[in-house]
Symmetry: C2
Subunit: 359 residues, 2 copies
């Protein structure tokens, strides 16, 4: 059986003050009236039945996610005691899938990316399943639109045989986020894709890689697997998870995995990582302003205004290149070129006494 | 008897969104925990008893002003049916005073200026009373600290005999707000004061000037005076007031009045006309930010942050020279050099359908 695993454990501090501990990024309605998580489920249908859609997240987010997509069976939530990065999260999901279906194929997907071409995305996932069944570890590569320094890159080498019109390529190497000069070179070469963090593979194949590359972790996974369905499961999981180190799937597994294939795709992908990504996804007025909610402006340009409350007026005069976010209990005014530093506000809120209500 | 008349009829649109129809400028607590109006009363004591302090305002503001200074007798509020500028407001107050005390001296004072040196201010008012008793129309002049184009100017000629150590001067001319070149010249000359809009005079003298310079209005004032204390008072006042034209005391009376004297004073005066005046009245941090209320900033300078709600966090990153005002139902983000244009937001709120709740 083919399963989709939606990674929904992040927090999204760069989207403060909308993204909060109790309302993490994937639960936010940033674009229209469906949350990022709802959109992540929506775009899988009808390729996947609800029973085939698994969620990995943390305990405190299950209730809200479940409310947002009530059709998801409760047992489809795979719960991490604490977040330990993508490698442990994917490993945990993989042993759950293996436990129920040793022949499972899993697509590891994100809830914090926007995908405009949803039918095409499902076609991609269907083709990727075929490649995965052949034993490849498939990674979805995004064709770069500019020499970004914000993403990891994947270099492709020889092409595989096409599947449903999709050409996969053997992966030459994975690289971390590059400096600008390297990014420029990679962009020019045409041989690189952005690493989307989306993967498709047979569960047995990826667990083989965990066993080979992260053997200590794999043995803990097997211990957890043995406890699935028993009363000891939660205790075993908690015990092993609390001491687990943080690790990404890219660094822990993919960089040195065997038989990795990249499938360069054109799915209308946008990483909704920070406020700066919103103007790419929403229409702008003729002065370049992107406005969500009640607003009145004079001589304002290239500014993002996001107002969550219809009973509140936001007004601006004579400003440009700002990000202005107003929620029920916070207001952020940030220069557009500093939107990556929003997380520093969250850091300060965490480090100072008495400010946890704004986290 | 010597009376203080506090003009408290304005709205203060340039202080939106804090200043509102229901909460006009003079009722706001901009500096500390006393409103502009409370401070205007406070600084008169003990020179004036509460019975000697009269307020001219509009009906809709009486309740709030009265709540703010409960010791003020209800009959001390002189109510304008609608605002018609300073000349009608002062004329109306003058006939009320004449009706009760033909020998009254009145100090016309403001509620929207900040006065730092309150004891000195009372000394000024005591000296001005002596000049007024001699028949002069006394205007308090503010010694300019820079060549402002935002105020009217008063040119002085020969000095009068000192009273209590204060030197008054005959007034050569009143001028409207000048252009920059004229302002520079006037500032350099040392012969000009800013027109503070504060005046001290015998009621009979100022009504003499109304009779000479605004005879039609004066005859209406006399008609109103006859109705004081009768059941017809309100009807007569309403009828005459609704058709009255707007007029300022400067243009309607002072520019061509006889025996006008300016008393240049150094009372620590600040016109709290717009948000830009607040940084002059409140301490700044070492990056030039003036902050009222809960706030967290990164790389922010020369910015005014005014947050009325302790349960709301305002955060800024990488901004400079902004005015950020957050009230319960509105947020204003304005470039510091555009703070005079705040009234344009109010104009837009007035002209568009369905936005009156933000007025």
């Amino acid at each position: 059986m083919y399963y989709a695993l939606i990674m929904a454990g992040g927090t999204g501090t760069r989207l403060w003050p909308l993204s909060r501990r109790a309302h993490p990024k994937q639960t936010l309605k940033l674009i229209g009236d469906r949350s990022m998580f709802q959109l992540a489920v929506d775009r899988l249908r009808p390729l996947f039945e609800m029973e085939q859609i698994k969620i990995v997240t943390r305990e405190e987010h299950v209730e809200l996610l479940s409310e947002q997509v009530p059709a998801l069976p409760a047992e489809n939530f795979i719960i991490e005691p604490v977040g330990r990065g993508t490698a442990p999260a994917i490993g945990l999901a993989a042993i759950h899938l293996r436990h129920h279906d040793p022949d499972a194929v899993m697509a590891v997907l994100t809830a914090d990316h926007h995908i405009a071409r949803t039918q095409h995305f499902r076609d991609v996932l269907a083709a990727a399943e075929q490649l995965a069944l052949q034993g490849h570890l498939v990674t979805l590569g995004i064709t770069p639109t500019f020499p970004s320094t914000g993403y990891g890159y994947i270099m492709q080498s020889e092409a595989l045989e096409e599947v449903n019109g999709f050409a996969g390529y053997r992966v030459e190497l994975f690289t971390e986020k590059p400096d600008q000069a390297t990014a420029n070179d990679m962009f020019e070469s045409g041989c690189f894709s952005w690493n989307s963090g989306m993967f498709v593979w047979r569960v047995d194949r990826v667990l083989q890689e965990f066993e080979r590359q992260m053997p200590a972790f794999y043995s803990r996974l097997c211990e957890i697997e043995q406890a699935i369905g028993s009363p000891q499961y939660q205790d075993v999981l908690n015990r092993l998870w609390l001491t687990e180190k943080k690790q990404t799937i890219d660094y822990g597994v993919m960089e040195h995995a065997r038989d990795v294939v990249v499938l360069p795709v054109d799915i209308g992908w946008t990483d909704v990582g920070s406020w700066g990504s919103l103007p790419d996804l929403l229409p702008a007025d003729d002065r370049g302003n992107t406005v969500v909610g009640r607003y009145m402006g004079i001589d304002t340009s290239d500014t993002l205004i996001f107002n969550t409350n219809g009973d509140r007026m936001i007004a601006t005069i004579g400003v440009t290149d700002l990000v202005i976010i107003a929620t029920s209990d916070s207001v952020l005014v940030c220069s557009k070129d500093r939107e990556q530093d929003v997380r520093a506000i969250v850091d300060q809120l965490e480090s100072q006494e008495g400010l946890s209500e704004w986290l």
